[in-house]
């Protein structure tokens, strides 16, 4: 079984019992995130939308690559891979 590490940014740690990283099993990114949701249900809601896609204001990195430049949630994982959940940051001065 492929096991990977998921890194949790500070704004989401309250949904992961304070953990900064969580080990999960998964052959693809989708499976790994679903298994993360089994351990920390509130966390998955912050990462995936109701259609099961990565939310607009979230980026997921596999190693040093943005998932959107790979095969998205279907990207296959290797033993020991590191997934990083990175909040997207946007805004602006006018209203």
């Amino acid at each position: 079984m492929t096991r990977v590490l998921v890194r949790i940014p500070a704004p989401l740690r309250s949904h992961a019992a304070g953990a900064s990283e969580v080990a999960v099993a998964g052959a693809t990114v989708r499976e790994a995130l679903w298994n993360l949701g089994q351990q920390h249900a509130g966390l998955l809601d912050k990462v995936l939308d109701e259609r099961g896609e990565v939310r607009q204001f979230v980026n997921v990195f596999l190693g040093e690559s943005d998932l959107r430049q790979l095969d998205g949630l279907d990207t296959r994982l290797s033993q020991g891979d590191v997934l990083s959940i990175i909040p997207a940051v946007a805004g602006g001065g006018a209203r």
Partner: protein, 153 residues
């Protein structure tokens, strides 16, 4: 954007003078574009100091990917935030917040800022015009509202 009065428990963002100057340098150099970046540091233990918050130890600038509307919008390069998270982990720090500038606008969060904000981070905003950074204020999201926190050296 409506903001709520400060809660009973005060929060503080400690930004040492040299880092404030560094940030103001980024903001002025970028004017009239909106500039943005990350704040690395450590959370403050409220039990020891009386006020919860964070101490900033590094201020870095990232690219604003919203080139078309750079005068009134910003989108921080995800790659920059990823690198900041990696560096924080290596050095035993945390990304404690993000900063951005409001050219010719007050240093208050906009509705656009609120829509994309995350709880648990400080949102430091610098109001800037052609001459100088006029105002530097910090905000945190709580229950969907921005609450101001004190910025102190």
């Amino acid at each position: 954007m409506k903001t709520r009065p400060a809660p009973t428990e005060p929060r503080v963002l400690r930004l040492p003078g040299a880092l404030r100057e560094r940030l103001e340098g980024f903001v002025l150099a970028g004017y009239p574009r909106e500039t943005c970046g990350t704040l690395l540091g450590r959370p403050i233990d409220p039990g020891r100091s009386g006020a919860a918050g964070a101490v900033v130890t590094h201020v870095e600038e990232g690219r604003n990917l919203d080139v078309e509307r750079a005068r009134d919008r910003y989108q921080l390069d995800p790659e920059h935030l990823f690198r900041a998270e990696e560096r924080a982990r290596r050095e035993g720090l945390e990304v404690v917040g993000v900063w951005h500038s409001h050219p010719e606008h007050p240093a208050r969060p906009s509705e656009t800022d609120r829509a994309a904000a995350w709880e648990g981070w400080s949102y430091l905003i610098a109001s800037v015009d052609a001459e100088a950074v006029r105002e530097l204020r910090s905000w945190r999201l709580a229950d969907g509202w921005f609450i101001e926190e004190e910025v102190r050296p």
